[in-house]
Symmetry: C2
Subunit: 182 residues, 2 copies
């Protein structure tokens, strides 16, 4: 009986354990790349996105965005991002003429470009930049214009929910979608 109780409690602890904290920092304040981000929730993919009209390329990269599952579930309920939200931007080269694909473009090699993090213990939203294949990313100074641009143009709480098709209607129904995102 005692053993059964212990087994039960053991399972209980496993059940209650949170999935690995998506936010880990080094002593120097770098952000550790979440090892399992490819198993997080996919928000969308773009190709060759740019904020200027003169940036076209013959081989534009794909931009995939993933978010940690707990933040995604909170967003579905509230239309807002909770503390400890982690948005991962992964860049992948695009190619055509791969295998039997004779048109269009497919994703090939890539790595994480930037991670956008909401962490109340470190001054709310921050961007971390990852060199190609790097296991940790460095804080982008808050004076850089990615911050002001996201502040001005992000549809929800400085994030580009306008590019995440399954979240647009959630935010609109919860009243959190800013018109600047349209």
């Amino acid at each position: 009986m005692k053993r059964m109780l212990l087994i039960g409690l053991g399972w209980a602890m496993i059940a209650m354990a949170q999935p690995g904290d998506p936010l880990r920092y080094t002593k120097s304040g770098n952000l550790v790349l979440p090892a399992d981000y490819r198993e997080w929730i996919f928000l969308s993919s773009g190709i060759g996105m740019a904020y200027t009209s003169d940036a076209s390329s013959a081989n534009p990269p794909f931009e995939n965005v993933f978010v940690n599952p707990s933040a995604y579930r909170a967003f579905l309920k509230t239309g807002s991002w909770p503390d400890k939200t982690v948005l991962v931007l992964e860049l992948r080269a695009s190619e055509s003429q791969v295998s039997i694909n004779k048109n269009g473009r497919v994703q090939t090699t890539g790595s994480v470009g930037e991670i956008h993090v909401k962490d109340a213990s470190r001054g709310e939203w921050a961007f971390y930049r990852f060199a190609k294949g790097a296991p940790e990313g460095t804080l982008i100074p808050k004076t850089e214009n990615c911050y002001s641009c996201h502040e001005q143009n992000g549809a929800v709480d400085t994030t580009f929910v306008q590019f995440y098709p399954t979240l647009i209607d959630v935010a609109k129904s919860k009243g959190t979608f800013k018109k600047t995102g349209e």
Copy 2:
């Protein structure tokens, strides 16, 4: 003490419960759209993919592919798809000039196009076609050429793993990647 045991066992049952079976059929043999496929594992996205070279379009759709998490985890271990593998092909329109995006293309509205299912109880692999927004999909007859094409050209077990960048090296290291996929 008894109550604690019951609480423990209750948690244990929750911990052991499998996530919802990804495969549900109607009485007539249609496949029910998995309600939560957008929370599954994202494999890749292409744009305007086609097997002929004359299919270019000014507004090519994106093709997103998702797989159920248990099949994904089995693939990481073995390089093969287990029984009850479900690969969802979602098609989304692409647009440019959305919000502050001035170049490239972003994903907008869409729905599931086809689902590729491995189910030993129903003759192994089968494709189901979904009309736009439909809650269930109809079996594509096994005489249609999607079957023979996947059989001949799929890198792993009739599936196009050659287009799923994070799985290519897994399959190669496990010896399951066919050369026809290259």
